[in-house]
Assembly symmetry: C2
Homo-oligomer: 416 residues x 2
Amino acid sequence: MSNPKNAIYAQSGGVTSVINASACGVIETARRHSTQIHKLYAAKNGILGVLGNELIDTSLESDADIAALKTTPGGAFGSCRYQLKDPTQNRAEYEKLFDIFKQHHIGYFFYNGGGDSQDTTFKIATIARELNYPLQCIGIPKTIDNDLPFTDNSPGFGSVAKYIAVSIKEVGFDIAAMAASSTKVFILEVMGRHAGWIAAASGLAATEKGDPPHIILFPEIAFNPDLFCARVKETVEKYGFCVVVAAEGIKNENGKYITEQGMTDAFGHQQLGGVAPLLAGLVKSKLGLKYHWAVSDYLQRSARHIASKVDVEQAYAVGVKAVELALAGETGVMPIIVRKNQTPYEWKIGTASLEKIANQEKKMPMDYISEDGFGITKACWDYIFPLIQGEDYPTYENGLPKYVKLKNICVGTSPA
Amino acid sequence: MSNPKNAIYAQSGGVTSVINASACGVIETARRHSTQIHKLYAAKNGILGVLGNELIDTSLESDADIAALKTTPGGAFGSCRYQLKDPTQNRAEYEKLFDIFKQHHIGYFFYNGGGDSQDTTFKIATIARELNYPLQCIGIPKTIDNDLPFTDNSPGFGSVAKYIAVSIKEVGFDIAAMAASSTKVFILEVMGRHAGWIAAASGLAATEKGDPPHIILFPEIAFNPDLFCARVKETVEKYGFCVVVAAEGIKNENGKYITEQGMTDAFGHQQLGGVAPLLAGLVKSKLGLKYHWAVSDYLQRSARHIASKVDVEQAYAVGVKAVELALAGETGVMPIIVRKNQTPYEWKIGTASLEKIANQEKKMPMDYISEDGFGITKACWDYIFPLIQGEDYPTYENGLPKYVKLKNICVGTSPA
């Protein structure tokens, strides 16, 4: 039997409150199979750390610290926004990658990210086959946007969904108390450039008719200022106040974002923000109602303190499964979450080919949005409901969650 | 012995995640003294409910529902932004108030609010004495702004402080992971018009040198764009990223708010917002760094899911004490929180005269702000630290906190 190969694990794209739970699943499972996986390296800052030969030796981290990843938000090894170009355009980059793989006897590559990142994983798997380089190349799903295809849901989404639903439920109690003589309209801007999954999750906060949120604005539905203002007015007249949740990516009827900040990220995505103050301005100028607005931004995706237990378990499970798939000789695949049963909710981990996943976006089904375009349907509620179940509190120390910072010692560097 | 009198309890000003814990303390204590307090009414929407003769009969609420107030955010009976005018200016309003008191045999009045509200409480106590109307008039402290004098801290502040410190700790893990190839500057706008208490609380998130937040902007310190940009640049160069927490009320060197939304509330306070995008614009135009920004707004003051246990206990305790003071024949006073010992933190409930409290604002001591104006000192850390201790999770049902909605049946109306 040949010497066991080494492995690389890397995190990519926007981090979440549970991507480290996937890292934990990968590392703990690799440790249990040390006869097959010798060293597990974590690339510093995603694929950039592979290209830059910055590989963290995870064997220098204690079992306790690795276990603590399960309750720590952010990306423990650093993430990146960097997409490998098409091999025909930048062959040199791939050659560098495989040089590093050879140099470190890498036989396993795990890439933890969203659609763009799985495109990278797929390209690497393809080149490995072309080069006859023996590599088990496995994608691990992650994205708060919930837009990965094939998987029933993406790890990371459930916790954001829970955070937004909890926040809207709470703020609803606040506005309800203030509305008689003060704030009547509250607007929360949530993430979601192309798909309204996160905005939709706010709908879970409503359990009785009239409960907030009263209006949800989806990127999928062209924003019409007149219809919006009419609905705000109607809601305030009916319930005394109006809670609005708006996805950052809402567009006008011409498909243009109603606001943009101008900068774009490495993938060419526009960096958005400022929908909430824009809507607030509309409420003020057209309706003269007192308003408040909030923008959750990164708070929503790092809020490990209110993570969904189901989400944490699934994030961990896809990490475990990724290693199991690699050890079973699979490549070019990604573990996915399969909904086995709706009530009671049961799930299992399946597998999908990266070829089919890369660069595909799962849109919200149109029958998840109510006919008036301002709310979610029962089908949507049924879909999201199981994903926000359960609490998985971190431990606290001195009033704050106890999150782990790893030593992160790169190969070839000496411990501090 | 004369028939027991009735009581009115009312909530005023911006609500908090723990003002209902004070309500719970009042109602549970009143129920234990039913020989002295016959009916406890809750005014609908604060003093407006007294003026409008909208009094909720709290005896129609179950013990379980009243107990659940301890874990429910918002204001269960409705609050208001309405300040009684000076008696010389609007005598009729006071006459109406005392007509209602007489009509309902009110012998006790409990007003739960901040500085403006305690001014109202004081005025009512004064007029009662003038009219020889027997009234035990007791203020109950509440404000996230922590600006009530005499009390060591105000119920409501500790939970916002915890929310902000936890959020900044979490988001710091996020940005740290992204900074190599993406967002380098993150800005969170927090509440605080005149005092930087909430912004200061973010400083608790830092436990090691270099931990976020790197820059705190206080209303007490004139904002200097050049110094700010220089510090952001320096921080990014040193740590790879920069987390900024800005109070909504930061002002330029002429004492003008650096941004305003134009509308004012009933007390003439300017309704602010938009400091975060303004700072982000500065970071972009002057430094060209990739940024993200968030605005917590009402989310921070309604986040009961991450309330401070100390805060909940103190909010409850001032409610209990208010009733005890009233039963002891006191009037024109407010229970206050007294810090008995720093380490270990010990507190007790004391009493202060409303005459001294009304319309006074407790400022941040200048020695709580570091010399460079961008951080907090050890003295500030020591002061806030005990106030964020302990978690007091609400119970969850179907993935969401189980908050109570009372029946809120007004006297003279029939149950639904």
